[in-house]
Point group: C2
Chain length 213, copies 2
């Protein structure tokens, strides 16, 4: 199994058993996460941007308007950035307050932003963006015009260093607490799709497509 190297920046010192470096796990978490946060430093001050993203191969892609301040900052200064994505899988309810925990899968990535100017790479990134939001969507919608391409900036981040941290399973209580009359276990959580809300201006006669049912 291919792994990311353990570096000074990605070494997990607290609860190292939760650390995961294999690329498959890191990629799966990134692919499932609906957003990431980008952290960068501006004049010594940390900033964070929550944003949508996709992964293709060993690169992350983010996009935004060419007028966006932080996109320009990242494009022009290419600062070292830290990206994180987190999935919450459940609340772990132990018999003691102290042993309460959360089942989660998180990834932290270190890298540098790079402007994507290759048209094929740009097009692919936007296609994967749309397909991540809604599989099947890309072939159904109007593709970007030349002007829309000019208004869109795409940055790639080669995943130079990365680690995942994963907790699964039930609570771990102290020996003497297992005799308590307290319910213990996991409350699993999942992001669910609710009923579709059609646009008020939806053209009459347009049905919900198969890929959205």
């Amino acid at each position: 199994m291919e792994k990311f190297p353990i570096t000074d920046k990605t070494k997990i010192t607290r609860l190292p058993k939760r650390g995961v470096y294999d690329k498959e796990t890191v990629y799966q978490i990134l692919d499932e996460a609906l957003f990431c946060t980008i952290a960068y430093v501006h004049e010594g001050q940390p900033f964070q941007i929550p944003t949508g993203f996709v992964r293709i191969g060993n690169k992350l892609y983010i996009h935004g308007s060419v007028g966006s301040f932080y996109m320009r900052e990242l494009r022009d200064k290419k600062p070292p950035i830290c990206v994180s994505a987190t999935l919450i899988d459940g609340m772990v309810l132990a018999r003691s307050a102290f042993h309460h925990s959360v089942n989660y899968r998180s990834v932290v990535v270190f890298g540098e932003p790079q402007l994507v100017s290759d048209k094929e790479e740009l097009y692919k990134a936007l296609e994967v963006f749309t397909e991540k939001m809604c599989p099947g969507r890309w072939s159904d919608v109007r593709k970007p015009t030349d002007n829309e391409w000019k208004e869109t900036m795409v940055l790639s981040i080669e995943i130079a260093e990365a680690s995942a941290k994963v907790r699964t399973g039930g609570p771990k209580d102290d020996e003497e607490d297992y005799a308590m009359n307290v319910w213990a276990g996991v409350l699993p959580l999942k992001i669910q799709k609710l009923e579709l809300v059609p646009d008020e201006l939806l053209k009459s006669g347009v049905d919900v497509p198969e890929y959205l049912k």
Copy 2:
């Protein structure tokens, strides 16, 4: 309505109509979010920690082991930090790829970490932590022992500067695209609680409590 001041750090320049500074909205988003990410700078490099948190009044609280490297860093160096929390409410499916969007509510907070040593404040923070995970839980479980308190570090972050960014509603398409035979609207998303998974070592005869049903 009480508002956070608009500062150089929290001024929303891109799509300013999405910027929200009223405390009530900022607090609601923070209270609903199951985790936040803490960004800080270490030797010029940005780092991010995804972690659980609670808000009490105008303060955020995070906790961890006294052995945790980053908790010690934050306690000892009190660096400027940036905290963000994001909720994804739905995928906005437009008729054109370009106008696809996401309904979200996000908050970015700037502040400094401070060690909580006051016992009452510490106790309150842990109680709210447990209650945020599962309302009704605190009164049901074993409270921390003196040793457990010694192993737990709680840091507070007074919300010095904060802003929220919110998108709601349906897609906004280009005039000429409304005639297209493409379904458009919103796919709402929500974090759902699934069926409880009892601990394998659950004492027999212990039922699921009312507050978990």
